[in-house]
Amino acid sequence: MSVIEINGLTKDYGNHKGIFNLSFQINEGEIFGYLGPNGAGKTTTIRHLMGFLTPDSGDASILSMDCRTQSADIMKHLGYLPAEMAFFNGMNGMQFLNFMGEMRELKDTNYRDELIEKFQLDTKGKIRKMSKGMKQKLGIISAFMHNPKILILDEPTSGLDPLMQKLFSDLLLEEKEKGKTILMSSHSFEEIERTCDRVGIIRSGELVAIENMHDLKEKRRKTYVVTFDSPTSAKSYKENTHFDKMTVEGAVVRLSVLGNVSAFIQSLSNYRILDLSMESSTLEDIFMHYYNVPKITEKVDNQEGGSL
């Protein structure tokens, strides 16, 4: 059964900005990753789901209720983490959580306190003085604390350190166990890879593909950098093997492998290898490799520590 349904959703801001004829469904109990570079339309899609925007055409519904007109009813079952942290002036963490609880008429605060404990959030500090990561934790707790059936998370792990990211991934998997339906957007492939069942890739407002995570990994091309003991062995390696995009630079060979890596590893066994590392591919590379779409010239913001 599909919990979130988007049909032909279009919002044209002019200048090729916006989203165009988006259609996809998210089924009950799945974690759906919504992947795309900044400015691709992820947040615009989510704003429609939250009922903040009226579509030019098409529609979006959650639990068979229209996102724009029945949003207050939808919100009874939904937890939302906005991309930008904008809390209320002057409140401290606990006051904010209490306020949000009251707005939702939430009586049971056990799960909330459990989450505070889990993320080790100091709720006594004024929100204004919190770091980005602290604010992000507060937002996460506020989105999960009423145990909603559906979660919409806009770039949930931005600002979290790797340990907290891991904690968050675990939380998502726990929620999935409980049968929750989750939509999370990201511009980081690695972030989505850890938790999602399916991935929708959006680019310039259009859905490029919807893939099963498993299939996507199969198709993923990885770039390896191998350092041999001498330029001669590097050269001989290049002559004796056939991988894509091989380049030799002194004793260093750079090559890319699609899917199965065992052939690659076997090919190395006859050589003395000083170093082997993998270059993480950017989202743009992934697009190019998977879908042969031309590189977009607009600036792709690499603010998340180059984890793209």
Partner: protein, 266 residues
């Protein structure tokens, strides 16, 4: 149908500016009331005579008859009551919706099971009640002080009518502020209308009071609809009152509709 937690949060956010404006009003009101002393009237008039006539007219300090009501009507309701609660109205109206949308915290409010209408209603109710309390305080304190200082001197029904006029004026002004707050995405635009318009009205009012050549400007300002001397003398103020009520109703309803319909960039 309002949201109680939001109402509480809004009170918490605004009570300080409310108290400041109230305190300033309460500072001036006693001074003006105690200044009314038939014995010292002449020296006050002498002092005013030293100032340029245009300045006095611009401040509305003309026609201060010789009753206590007309004295307060001139010196308090001619200018101070037009300025101080207006500052409160501008701040509170901007905070009610536009600033929440601008900062993005509206996203949190709308991610709870509360409709946009309910949130707008809650904020509008706060503005409406708090401005009523503000003018109410002025009314009660004005009567009390007058009775203490000059027992029996104040025409109380006339004073109540004067304050009713001021209250209706503020229903209209907060209506304009609320409408601007509901219509615009950012504080900048909300303030341009919500604050710019009342301030422009006030300036036009002051200029139109100066002389015959600028008198036509009175048709361009809402403050013409609140004329203390007309209210005190009982001259056709009914139509002005009705117009103020109509402006208030139209702008508040307009605000609800605008906020309900529009796209929010959250």
């Amino acid at each position: 149908m309002i949201s109680k937690p939001l109402f509480k949060a809004t009170i918490k956010q605004n009570y300080i500016v409310f108290l400041i404006i109230l305190a300033v009003l309460m500072l001036y009101l006693p001074i003006i009331i105690t200044m009314y002393d038939p014995a010292t009237q002449d020296s006050l008039n002498e002092m005013l005579a030293m100032l340029p006539q245009e300045l006095i007219s611009a401040m509305g300090f003309t026609g201060a008859g010789n009753t206590l009501l007309s004295f307060i009507g001139t010196y308090f309701y001619g200018f101070l009551i037009l300025l101080l609660p207006m500052i409160y109205s501008v701040i509170v109206c901007n905070r009610s919706l536009a600033s929440l949308v601008d900062k993005g915290s509206m996203a949190y409010l709308l991610s709870t099971p509360n409709t946009r209408s309910k949130i707008a209603r809650t904020q509008a109710l706060f503005i409406f009640i708090s401005i009523s309390i503000l003018i109410g305080f002025v009314t009660v304190i004005g009567i009390t002080l007058s009775e203490i200082e000059f027992p029996g001197e104040l025409d109380i029904p006339g004073f109540l009518l004067l304050n009713l006029g001021a209250l209706l004026l503020y229903y209209a002004l907060t209506g304009i502020g609320f409408f601007a707050s509901a219509l615009f995405n950012d504080t900048k635009n909300s303030l341009a209308i919500g604050a710019g318009l009342p301030v422009a009205f006030l300036v036009l009012q002051m200029i139109s009071d100066v002389g015959k050549s600028t008198e036509f400007l009175k048709y361009l300002t809402i403050y013409t609809l609140f004329d203390p001397q007309k209210i005190i003398s009982g001259d056709d103020f009914i139509l002005s009152f009705i117009t103020l009520v109509l402006i208030a109703v139209a702008t508040y309803i307009g605000g609800f509709i605008a906020f309900q319909k529009r796209d929010l960039p959250l």
